[in-house]
Subunit: 157 residues, 2 copies
């Protein structure tokens, strides 16, 4: 487990804003921003419901919106996400060699944190109540959809 | 390592056709099909160059084109891919609990096969010359792009 920096809470707020935007669209309220050298280079939200997508989770949406960066930029990057990343998103984080991940909520759903830390990614958990509350409210309203996309425990958890 | 079935070569050919389509578009020639109960339910190709995408690898493109399937369908599915899956695609395979993966070429690039097999996915390597030849020809023409997207060895390899 890594230690939070002074900037982490503010960047997580940007990810929360993305999650709230997702919620306002009726989607799964998870948001993410990719930060390089103190600047947001990509922001995204889970758009599985909005786009009928199986690969547009918040983290992959943020990566996609950032576009292809130089290898060194990924290594210096921090990915902020309101929810512990599933193993697809963890695989993307590892593939692009993102060095640091800040997670808002690891309680409502615990993703592939073991996989990330086992590959040397610095993981910071902020345990932000608003991140968990947004998702819990969604799950209560859309339990069937949540079960169809989350399948229970993360296979790489 | 699993054993190939009588249908595997024919479905891999469908993935090769996708790779060739990608090559004809000037893209990275990797193709994939998702097969459930003997039927192709999604086909895709690496479209990183065509769409400027960092998440549209062949396997994720095939999954996206298939749309969200019932959990049991993923479990019965076989994903065919002309190239050993990178750890982002392996994460997607694990996330959706796809039970079986047939790989055309594991020589030109060896992806996250250890991660897949370590999580109980049946992996079959067909070592198809055409799969490797397509990619080798691309790498020779576009070495800079290949290095920018593949970064060398797979971090979960």
């Amino acid at each position: 487990m890594g230690e939070p920096t002074a900037q982490d809470a503010a960047f997580l707020e940007r990810a929360v804003a993305e999650a709230q935007r997702g919620a306002s669209e009726g989607g799964v309220p998870v948001g993410s921003v990719l930060v390089v050298d103190g600047r947001v280079v990509g922001a995204g939200r889970n758009r599985s419901m909005q786009l009928g997508s199986v690969i547009r989770h918040a983290e992959t949406d943020a990566l996609e919106n950032a576009g292809l960066l130089p290898a060194e930029a990924y290594r210096r990057a921090t990915l902020y996400t309101t929810l512990s990343p599933c193993c697809m998103c963890a695989g993307a984080i590892l593939w692009y060699r993102i060095g640091r991940v800040v997670v808002g909520d690891s309680q409502t759903f615990r993703g592939a944190e073991t996989l990330l830390e086992g590959h040397g990614v610095e993981l910071v958990r902020l345990e932000s109540a608003i991140c968990g509350d947004l998702l819990t409210a969604f799950i209560e309203r859309h339990r069937e959809h949540w079960n169809a996309i989350a399948f229970g425990a993360d296979p790489c958890g």
